[in-house]
Every structure is written in C-alpha cells, then in structure tokens.
C-alpha cells in the first residue's frame, strides 16, 4: 500500500525549442499513513512531481503506481486527493455545501452517503455551519481555503497531497489547518505536504524529501534532516544547532521550545555539577 515512483523523468513540451526537463530519474516511495514533506526551491520540480501521483501528468519515462495500480487509472483520482496552490480559485458552485459535494458527486456518491461525506468534510475542515448555504464568493480568503480543503477531504482520499497549503494564511487559519493535518494523519491517512519552506512542518513529519533541479537530493527522517546540512530549519532547531557549534553538549533534533528549554537546563546543571 504505497505510492511508488520508479525512474521517473518528465519534460514539458518535448521535441520543441521550449522543451525543459522538470524531473530527472526520480525514485521514491510513500507508504500509507506516512506524513511526508517535500521541500525544495521554487522550480525544483515539486509541483510537477505531485501531478504524477494522480495521473494528471504521465511520466516521459519510468512509472508511477498507487497501491499497485497505474497512476493514470481513474480510480486513483479517488485515492490521491490533491489540493493545489491557491485552492480558493477552484470554488465555483452556488453554495459552500454544493461546492464540497462536487468531488463526491463526480465519484458517484448519492443521497445519504453524499450528505454524510459532505457534512463530515465541512466539519473536519472547521467550516462554520451557518456558512454552508452561503455563496463561496462571499467568504474571506481563509474561509475559502478551508472550504477548498473540505472539497478535497469529502472525496476521502487515502493520500492527501497539499501544495503550499500554508502560504498566505493568517495565523489563526494556519493553526487550524495544521490541526486538520495532524488529525488526518492520526486517523491513518497519508499526508504529503509540498512547500519551499518546510521548517514549520518539520515536527509533524515522518519523512522529508528534498528536491533540487528535478532530482531528489535528500530523503530521511526529521532527525537525519537536522543532522544534515540541509535548510531551512525551524528557528528553535537552528538555535540548538548554533549552541552545539559553540561547544555546548545539547541535542539538535529538537523542534519544540519547551523541550529545548529542558535540554538547556539539563546541560547547564551538568556544567555547574562538573565545576563544583
């Protein structure tokens, strides 16, 4: 049960003067239930890669399979839900409720089942109930984003892919989005977050994948990521790393302010102890 990308290369406009290679011989595997961060600079091929996960793009060479099926098979669209950048642009229906129902309707949900899926997704995304019958165009930017997320959650994907989900969100909606991602992960879904700034999400992740110029440049756990020279790091982690470089014997795989404090106190006590 995983998304498997094997030897995938991809070029846009092949055979023309505009041809540009976006992916070069990419191999990776994302298991069911994993929380994966895909980082890398803008233009490193992240967005191209995720469009292969549900067959929007087909590799020029190599193969992509989802739970053993070829990624361009239609049933895969139901398994891999993708929320693209600025998802508020995808809203179109007369009401919030109808818009969220668009996905499940396309996959043949009807009647009670449909109603259940839609309300559950809306509730999970934290959309207030009085907004259900509002036109999506009357909502604020943050609310629109939540509705768009509900629109993807309503499909009940096994793998949820989000492209730059935090960009342009105010702190309040940011927190609620992180909460949604955390609880989805707890319930056993795979969550794959693509971002050029992965520092904030590091504590949530099981696996980090970094991309550079269409290739994968790093795969590993958050701890390994911190040990490597990769950037960006969360502020608290880079502080600990700096302390370590100054010769303090602190751990650097720390993502939490409280934990960092405990670690600093521990080291301080040790030092005091050795001086006496």
């Amino acid at each position: 049960m995983s998304i498997d990308v094997t030897n995938v290369s991809f070029s846009y406009d092949p055979g023309t003067s505009l041809e540009r290679t976006a992916l070069k011989n990419v191999n990776l595997s994302i298991g069911r239930g994993e929380f994966v961060l895909i980082g890398g600079e803008i233009g490193s091929g992240k967005s191209t890669l995720i469009r292969h996960f549900n067959g929007l793009l087909r590799p020029s060479s190599g193969s992509v399979s989802v739970d053993g099926a070829e990624a361009h098979v239609k049933s895969v669209r139901k398994k891999v839900g993708i929320l693209f950048q600025f998802p508020q642009n995808q809203l179109f229906a007369r009401s919030v409720y109808e818009d969220v129902a668009f996905g499940p309707c396309n996959f043949g949900a009807k009647g009670d089942e449909l109603r259940k899926k839609v309300t559950k997704a809306l509730r999970m995304a934290g959309v207030r109930e009085e907004l259900y019958e509002h036109s999506p165009f009357t909502l604020s930017g943050g609310e629109m984003r939540l509705v768009a997320i509900a629109g993807v959650l309503a499909i009940r994907p096994d793998y949820l892919v989000l492209d730059e989900p935090l960009s342009g969100l105010d702190p309040e909606h940011r927190e609620s989005l992180l909460k949604i991602l955390r609880s989805l992960h707890m319930q056993g879904s795979s969550v794959i977050v693509v971002s050029h700034w992965i520092a904030d999400l590091l504590p949530l992740a099981d696996k980090i994948i970094l991309m550079e110029k269409g290739k994968i440049s790093f795969v590993g756990s958050p701890e390994e990521y911190v040990k490597s020279t990769s950037t960006p790091l969360p502020e608290i982690t880079s502080l600990m790393k700096k302390l370590q470089q100054k010769g303090f014997d602190v751990r650097d795989d720390i993502f939490d302010v409280g934990e960092a404090l405990n670690e600093i106190i521990r080291v301080k006590k040790e030092r005091l102890g050795s001086m006496q």
Binding site: T16, S17, L18, R51, N54, L56, K74, R77, K78, V80, G81, I82, L83, F84, Q85, P87, N89, Q90, L91, F92, A93, F102, G103, P104, C105, N106, F107, F137, G151, V152, I155
Partner: protein, 258 residues
C-alpha cells in the same frame, strides 16, 4: 500552445526588423486581396507569397500551425454550412441536407481564405512584439478624430496590449484550474456541462480580479490614457517603404493577372 498561439517569437530576420506599421498595413493589404481572389489559381499564388514570407521570417512552422489549429472547429462549421446550404447541383445527401458542387467549391474557397488570414496574421504577431504592435496601431489611429467618440488612440492601444498580455496569463490559470477540478474527479469528456460550469465560473472570477489588480497597479503608477510617450519609437525607414510597395505590387499583380 499558449506561447505560440499568435505569440511573439524573438528573431533577427528582415521581417522582424520592419516597422510594425509596415507589417500591419501589409496584413491589411493581404486580407483585401485574399477576399477579392476568386479562383484556386490565385489562392495558390497567395500561398506561394506566404511561403516566401514565412521562410524569410525564419520562424518555426509551429507558429502559423498553432494559429490555425484552435480555429479548426469554426473552419469546419463554415465549410459545412457552405457545402450544405448553398448551390443546386447535388453531390450527395446526408440527413435531409444536400451537399452541392457549388457549395463544395465555395466552402473550400472560403475556409481557405480564413486559413490564409490566420497565416498572414500569425507572421505579423510572430515577428512583432506586442508592445511594438500596440505602438504601431496607436500611431496609425492617432490622426483619426476618436476624441469625439470619447476615446483616444492611447486608450485603444492600451486596451489592445493588455488583452494580448492577458492571453497567456488566463491560459495558465485555466490549466491550473483544470488540474484542480480533475483532481476532484471531474471527467472532461464524460461531463461536458459540468466541465464548462466548473471551469467558467472561476475563470470569470479570476479574469475580473486580475483585470482589477492590473488597473490598480497601473493607476498607482500614474497611468492616464492621454498623450503617453512610448518606450519604443518606431520609424518608417526606406526599407519599410520598399517592403510595403513591393508587397502591395506582388499581391495586386496576383489579382490582376488571374
């Protein structure tokens, strides 16, 4: 396609370096001639002129091709309407409609004319930057008393260049939107009605919003629709007059000879 559909292709050919007005007037001349030609022989000769210009311009064959391709459906409709709705000598019947020999002739000629129009226009747009094109049109409109109608040639020029710039932008948005809705299970082929609805509503919103943003950005940089100077000052050179005269002579002689 977005880049090639009536888009500019940088180059250094003689046609690239001509004044935009020369090229615009030439396209006008070409379209007058194209619509005054009534035989296949004339059409063949015009085709030869096009091929000559095309090879001088040294642009990719994809540029004229991608100008025609999106229009295919209209061309086919025009052809079918001519074929079935004009003339008397029946060739064959289909679902109660009669295809006629005259219709076939007129249909072929008319679609061919439209194809030529697109082809000549594609050479113009492929060899002229949008800003040059705008300046050219603005200069040509300047002598006209447009102020009396409440608009200025500057307004028109700005509107034109903005629409040209919006083309690739909107196309890019459409592609992204298509990806998003397809990820929500939209089947473009199976559900045309839902496709149109779920794409057109957000596209309208995006178009209006981008237009609003652009107008704000322009106003905050003191745009006003009157008497703007332009970054590129086109100048008609001796080369331009020669090219214009030569082109008009060649095209005119095609009609006169045939």
């Amino acid at each position: 396609m977005s880049n090639l559909f009536f888009g500019y292709i940088p180059g250094t050919s003689p046609i690239h370096s001509l004044d935009p007005r020369t090229k615009i007037i030439s396209v006008m001349v070409a379209s007058i001639i194209i619509f005054n030609s009534g035989s296949f022989r004339e059409m063949a000769l015009i085709g030869a002129v096009f091929l000559a210009l095309f090879s001088i311009s040294r642009i990719s064959y994809r540029a004229p091709l991608s100008a025609v391709r999106p229009m295919m459906i209209f061309l086919i409709i025009i052809f079918l309407m001519q074929l079935f709705l004009t003339g008397e000598t029946i060739l064959f019947s289909l679902a109660g409609f009669n295809a006629t020999q005259e219709g076939l002739y007129a249909g072929l000629l008319l679609t061919w004319r439209f194809v030529y129009l697109l082809l000549f226009a594609s050479i113009l747009t492929a060899t002229t930057t949008p800003s040059m094109l705008t300046v050219g049109i603005e200069r040509m409109l300047r002598p006209l008393p447009l102020e009396k109608a409440g608009i200025s040639s500057f307004d028109l020029a700005t509107m034109m260049s903005l629409s040209i710039h919006f083309f690739p932008l909107l196309y890019e948005h459409l592609e992204k939107l298509k990806d998003a809705q397809m990820s929500r299970g939209l089947d473009l082929k199976k559900n045309p009605l839902r496709t149109i609805y779920s794409l057109s509503v957000p596209m309208m919103k995006i178009a209006f919003r981008s237009a609003g943003e652009v107008s704000l950005a322009m106003e905050s940089r003191c745009y006003q629709g009157v008497s703007r100077t332009s970054l590129f000052e086109p100048r008609m050179q001796r080369m331009d007059f020669a090219a214009l005269l030569g082109f008009a002579l060649i095209m005119g002689s095609i009609v006169l000879l045939a």
